[in-house]
Assembly symmetry: C2
Homo-oligomer: 340 residues x 2
């Protein structure tokens, strides 16, 4: 540290450390860059020259999100390489439901103090998920804020910007009574319900991170850190025009998310016996004596994405996506009726 | 609260409260929308149909940022209506230095628990600044994370996306020895150096929020909460081609930010006696016995934006911007030399 930065460092902000750490991640970030990315990291803004060739009416679709208290599991286990992937994939799924593909991503890490090895793991997670999704990391901010976060903890925020050609925008408006709802399997809790899950599993049931639970592969920590699935490539592979509506099942579960895409004249009737709810949700429900209806509103219960299609297209979409028919569309008022 | 959400609420997450608060802000958000915004709030992604008419080669420029521990002043005073403006303006200035104008903004608020009146004040700040900047709020996330933040506290993150026509991109490449550096006045500390400022003013000097300091207008709290200036409209009003380089003076001060735009063959020599450093910085420097060189690396010292122009254009740019010549460009190696 240079002599001239004594006061700031004594107040808890180590500028040199921040700069060193940031230099170390440049290769990771550059690995996500395609030809659309201009300029350099370290400049003020990320430059992205979009290629909208072949699009009639490009619409930018964006979303900001966090990982919630899934982070607390990362803190407890010291495993920081997965939550960055969670964040990217969650953001991608939020815009994929409109039919958009991701273009670029920006991250924010807020912490009391930068821990270089933690920071590097987080960035590796962002980079891994972005590279897989052909999404460029064009910017980010790392804020050292003494007194804002608990020691050793941090918050993560991601913003994604993608694009969809307006004629291909998926908005649910073509959904009709008689259509079919197909559910795609989630990979565990994804990024929702962790405050309740942790309370039940760790406090009420007194389980440890290494606990082995019937029906759960690996340790409890493994299960809770499973990476949020990116459904976008699978959705993009479906034939144009077949998908009438998509819902990313996040906070609020099937009950609150599916209505976002339903016309006001339709209900979705979901038969909760039509798929096998993964064991982890049973453990949480039983261990915390959580009302079954509430379970379906807090957790994804094993369904991370729903696709509404015409009945005639259901079999083909099921085959392609390995999805399960979990319900159907009936006349109604824009809500979800769970058959528990 | 419905009966079925007991367990989640007991764990500290009030979904109904979150939904109620979000409904309340829809009018604020809609007030920022121009014709480019499609669709509705409450959907999964924000839809923005960009109008690039008249542009040869549109490049998207984006930036993510926070407000740092200026938030601690908002917490202490209970005044939450300015930090949202700080965040928006900071983000805008970060992309304005490349020549970009803002298109849309997304916010993130992370908190232990949602306080509706705080949330509304924050959103009013975002909306006020976005409306003034003709920038649409197209999305946002509010995360209730029990145990992550201190009670009554929150973190704010903003992401901005703007556009610049590539031929008009400002990258500093035309800067030459003999050019002039013009500084534009900041409005106080903007959003940098608050960890040190608070330590010196409140801990070492023992001042209260209502303290009156010589040369400082209003109370200490007023001074510390002054809103980050948005320089973009002023910069956009300058004649095309005149501006060779821009630097937003944020964390790292003149010393670290000006070099971001300097060619490797040039230095900037800054005469620190050429403008009057606002009194607040003198109080911090003297009160904390902070080395003068460090002061210029932690704080903006009264200069929030620098413009590099050819000597022949300096007088006209000064008149238009009310800026001050604070230095010049000489042969060198891409650094800043402060004449203290």
């Amino acid at each position: 540290m240079s002599k001239s930065k004594k006061a700031y460092a004594a107040a808890g902000v180590d500028v040199d450390l921040g700069n060193r750490v940031k230099r170390g991640i440049q290769a990771l970030v550059k690995g996500t860059h395609g030809p659309e990315v201009l300029g350099r990291i370290g400049g003020f803004g990320g430059l992205f020259r979009p290629n909208f060739r072949g699009m009639k009416d490009p619409v930018l679709v964006s979303s900001a999100d966090g990982v919630g208290t899934k982070l607390k599991v990362a803190f407890a286990t010291g495993r920081h390489d997965t939550v960055g992937q969670d964040l990217v994939n969650h953001c991608i799924d939020d815009i994929a439901v409109i039919g958009a593909r991701p273009l670029f991503f920006l991250d924010y890490i807020g912490a009391e103090k930068l821990e270089p090895h933690v920071f590097t793991q987080l960035l590796k997670g962002f980079a891994k998920a972005c590279k897989a999704a052909k999404c460029a990391i064009v910017g980010g901010e790392t804020a050292q804020m003494p007194g804002m976060y608990h020691p050793g903890e941090y918050d993560l925020v991601g913003t994604i910007v993608g694009v969809v050609d307006r004629p291909k925008l998926i908005d649910g408006s073509k959904i009709r009574a008689g259509d079919v709802v197909i559910g795609l399997a989630s990979n565990g809790l994804h990024t929702n319900g962790y405050t309740l899950a942790r309370k039940v599993l760790f406090e009420q049931m007194g389980l440890g991170l290494d606990a082995k639970l019937p029906g759960v592969k690996g340790t409890l920590a493994d299960e809770l850190l499973r990476v949020h699935r990116n459904y976008q490539p699978l959705l993009a592979s479906l034939p144009a025009g077949v998908v009438k509506g998509l819902a990313h099942i996040t906070g609020g579960g099937l009950v609150d998310n599916l209505p976002r895409v339903l016309p006001k004249s339709c209900d979705a009737v979901i038969d909760c016996s039509s798929w096998k709810v993964p064991a982890i949700f049973d453990h949480i429900g039983r261990g915390g004596k959580v009302d079954r209806a509430e379970m379906y509103q807090v957790f994804n219960m094993g369904i991370g994405m729903t696709i509404v299609v015409a009945a005639k297209d259901a079999a083909a979409v099921q085959r392609k996506t390995k999805g399960v028919v979990i319900g159907g569309i009936v006349k109604g008022s824009g809500s979800v009726r769970l058959v528990l």
